[in-house]
């Protein structure tokens, strides 16, 4: 699929490709050149992010394509092949670069020289941009620019991207790619010979080798220390989680009240009727369901980019890699899964820091299994209504243990499923785990803010529209068709009647045969359908079905406890049914926002469809098993 956002009139433009290894400072340079006006999309068929931006040159404008970071031109996966496809002009919807800007970390020049040789052999005109010159100096290293230019035969510019130094010189150079010098003799084709070619250049160009970065060396003695490093990792992760989980709540509450006020305003401004309902409950609430994610997303990305730009993310991945490696993932998946405890939407967005697209896909697919905060109201209602407030051991109560059990089940399921997917769904994964530990750097405020803003905006634009549409569709299902309310029903009873005869109510009845084996009746069915918008909506919907009006207080809990099957007279919420419903919520992907963000991050409906199906199957099977087991055990004596 081609994103319509990246349609550019390529004929009039000079097209530059930005090529270089990860951590070489490509992003900083890209932002310095394009002034943050990047268009973000995906390369066709893969989950690799694609960024393009316009650069203003002296007399013209040009297009800059930010190619995925790479260490060489020998791809070892379909995702890495993107670079080669773009260079060859075979990538669908992406213009073939007329010239390449090769970004090279001046500190690790010896490593990059064979790669430069490989690029030179491609025949496209190139210029070299040496970055991290300030770091090279700080590490006591120096190199001879003129000799580098002479031995490579191409233009070389030095920049300090975050300070904007050298950017003007680079801009002037980009204005005239036709005038770029080209090597008279190409580097050798054979890998080993090319390495020799690179070594001889390194020997003439590098005047003094850089020593270790003194600050990085000192900090790493603590950060990567077996004991202190592990403790620091735990502390950082707890703070990270705590900030997403609790710092976001005041802002989320404020948004909630603002949306409610706005809906109230719409009701008073518009004449009563279904249009007022649509605007207040459909449109305004729908927009609210998008905006409500912003506090978490902004906090998550603020932290994520801060840790990434500082250089800590790679260290965190290093510390925890062994654990994640056992299930076939790597350290950076940990952060995404942890974020998913707050909400799968920012969690899935956090997978962008995982370099291996396969690891990233598996992490995205299992992220919904982590117990997000939207499940909590559902768990709280069912546990408080049906699990007795009894002490198991000292201050440890049964209710708390059940809640803990639900959290643990989700995490265990995520790890088991990830291990299975890694072996079956994306097999043949030959990507080795190779990670550069970057030097610690202070992030620049501008770059940091722009990354956070960019991610928030991408969420609103790409996922927000889907979430908005889904919540309006669900609103229609829950409110239409309108039926005559029989005489004598008013207030809560009338709204319960209307809901039962709505499309969602009828759907609830229709799926009853399917969910009956789990002990669920049509009322729970309506709740499940409504909770597709967001899991916590189950509570509000049950309140409406049971005509108890509010979600607060005891009335809903009592109504649930008392409800009996009109035909058999048996309790609806038996211990087996309650247990089955809790287990269903552990597994099921009852969240259109998660589906929308999966669509956005994987650039296809295939993966959200797959995730929804497998999680539904898992939820159904586990729920059925739970119902059977609890029924067989006759556990009614410890519940109720």
């Amino acid at each position: 699929m081609t994103s319509p956002a990246i349609q550019t009139d390529s004929v009039a433009f000079q097209v530059f490709g930005l090529l270089g290894s990860p951590n070489a400072g490509k992003t900083t340079l890209f932002n310095a050149l394009t002034g943050l006006r990047a268009k973000v999309g995906n390369y066709p068929g893969v989950t690799v992010e694609r960024r393009e931006g316009e650069i203003a040159l002296e007399n013209s404008r040009a297009l800059l394509i930010d190619l995925p970071g790479t260490y060489g031109l020998t791809p070892i996966s379909a995702d890495e092949a993107v670079v080669n496809e773009v260079l060859a002009g075979h990538a669908e919807g992406v213009s073939k670069p007329d010239a390449l800007v090769v970004v090279v970390d001046a500190c690790s020049l010896p490593r990059s020289l064979p790669f430069i040789g490989e690029i030179l052999r491609e025949g496209t005109p190139i210029c070299i941009v040496l970055t991290m010159l300030d770091e090279l100096t700080a590490r006591g290293g120096s190199l001879d620019f003129e000799r580098l230019k002479a031995s490579l035969g191409v233009p070389v510019v030095g920049v300090v991207g975050h300070k904007g130094r050298g950017i003007d010189a680079l801009r002037r150079l980009l204005g005239d790619p036709a005038g770029w010098s080209r090597p008279s003799v190409l580097p050798p084709e054979d890998r080993a010979e090319r390495a020799g070619w690179a070594d001889s250049i390194a020997a003439t160009v590098i005047e003094t080798s850089p020593a270790r970065h003194p600050l990085t060396e000192r900090v790493d003695q603590i950060v990567l220390h077996p004991v202190w490093g592990s403790l620091l990792f735990l502390v950082v992760m707890v703070i990270f989680f705590q900030l997403i989980f609790s710092w976001a709540s005041p802002a989320m509450d404020a948004i909630d009240s603002a949306i409610a006020a706005l809906a109230g305003l719409a009701r008073t401004a518009l004449p009563a009727g279904w249009i007022a309902d649509l605007v207040a409950d459909g449109l305004v609430a729908g927009v609210g369901s998008v905006v409500i994610f912003l506090p978490q997303i902004v906090i998550l990305f603020a932290l994520l980019y801060l840790l990434e730009d500082l250089g800590y993310m790679a260290r965190a991945a290093f510390v925890v890699d062994r654990l994640m490696g056992r299930i076939g993932l790597e350290g950076r998946s940990f952060v995404a899964l942890l974020s998913s405890y707050a909400c799968a939407v920012p969690g899935i967005m956090a997978t962008r820091t995982i370099p291996s697209p396969r690891d990233r896909l598996v992490t995205i697919l299992v992220a919904p299994l982590m117990t997000c905060s939207a499940r909590l109201p559902v768990y709280a209602l069912l546990i408080s209504a049906f699990v007795p407030q009894r002490s198991v051991w000292g201050p440890i109560g049964l209710q708390g243990l059940v809640l803990l059990g639900l959290y643990v089940s989700g995490a265990v399921a995520a790890l088991v499923v990830a291990a299975i997917f890694k072996r079956t769904l994306v097999p043949g994964d030959s990507l080795p785990f190779t990670m550069e530990l970057p030097t610690y750097r202070w992030p620049t405020l501008r770059l940091w803010l722009s990354q956070v803003a960019g991610s928030a905006w991408a969420f609103i634009r790409r996922a927000g529209t889907i979430i908005l549409a889904a919540s309006i569709i669900l609103w229609v299902l829950l409110n239409f068709p309108k039926v005559e309310i029989p005489d004598g029903l008013d207030g809560n009873a009338a709204s319960a009647y209307a809901l039962e005869h709505s499309a969602a109510g009828r759907l609830g009845h229709a799926i009853e045969p399917v969910i009956a084996p789990l002990g669920f009746d049509w009322k729970i069915g309506v709740g499940l359908i409504a909770s597709l918008a967001a899991r916590e909506i189950l509570v509000a919907t049950l309140a409406q079905v049971y005509a108890t009006g509010g979600e607060e207080g005891d009335s809903l809990r009592q109504a649930l406890r008392r409800d009996r099957n009109p035909e058999t007279g048996e309790l609806i919420f038996t211990p087996a049914t309650v247990a089955a419903l809790l287990v269903f919520f552990v597994f099921a992907l009852q969240c259109t926002s998660t589906l929308a963000i999966m669509r956005r991050e994987t650039n296809s409906w295939r993966w959200p469809a797959f995730a929804f199906s497998y999680l539904f199957a898992l939820a159904y099977a586990a729920s059925l098993l739970t119902h059977r087991v609890v029924t067989a055990l006759g556990a009614s004596d410890w519940l109720s």
């Binding site: 010896p110 390194a202 290093f318 890699d321 785990f433 530990l437």
Partner: protein, 87 residues
């Protein structure tokens, strides 16, 4: 110089020189792209708290590899404690 070992067997703090990277598959080529090739000097810097992966220093940068990859790198140990030479 002493007998050859694989990189995963080298204790922390040791300097080694690469003899060869076993195999001719994408992983071997990736290691080559990362600078792990014949003749290159590597220092074993530190291991993760759980024993794997390990940070190595080569070509003036720090690279983190798991045992599964470092076990393919055949090296000879160098008797020196201070870094000298171009790489």
């Amino acid at each position: 110089m002493s007998e050859s070992k694989t990189l995963d067997q080298i204790p922390k703090g040791q300097f080694v020189q690469v003899i060869e990277v076993e195999g001719d598959d994408p992983i071997a080529r990736r290691l080559d792209d990362l600078g792990v090739r014949e003749g290159v000097r590597i220092e074993v810097l530190r291991r993760a708290p759980l024993g794997d992966p390990t940070v190595f220093e080569l070509c003036h940068y720090q690279l983190c590899l798991r045992r599964s990859e470092s076990a393919r790198i055949r090296v000879r140990t160098l008797d020196e404690s201070a870094p000298t030479g171009a790489r």
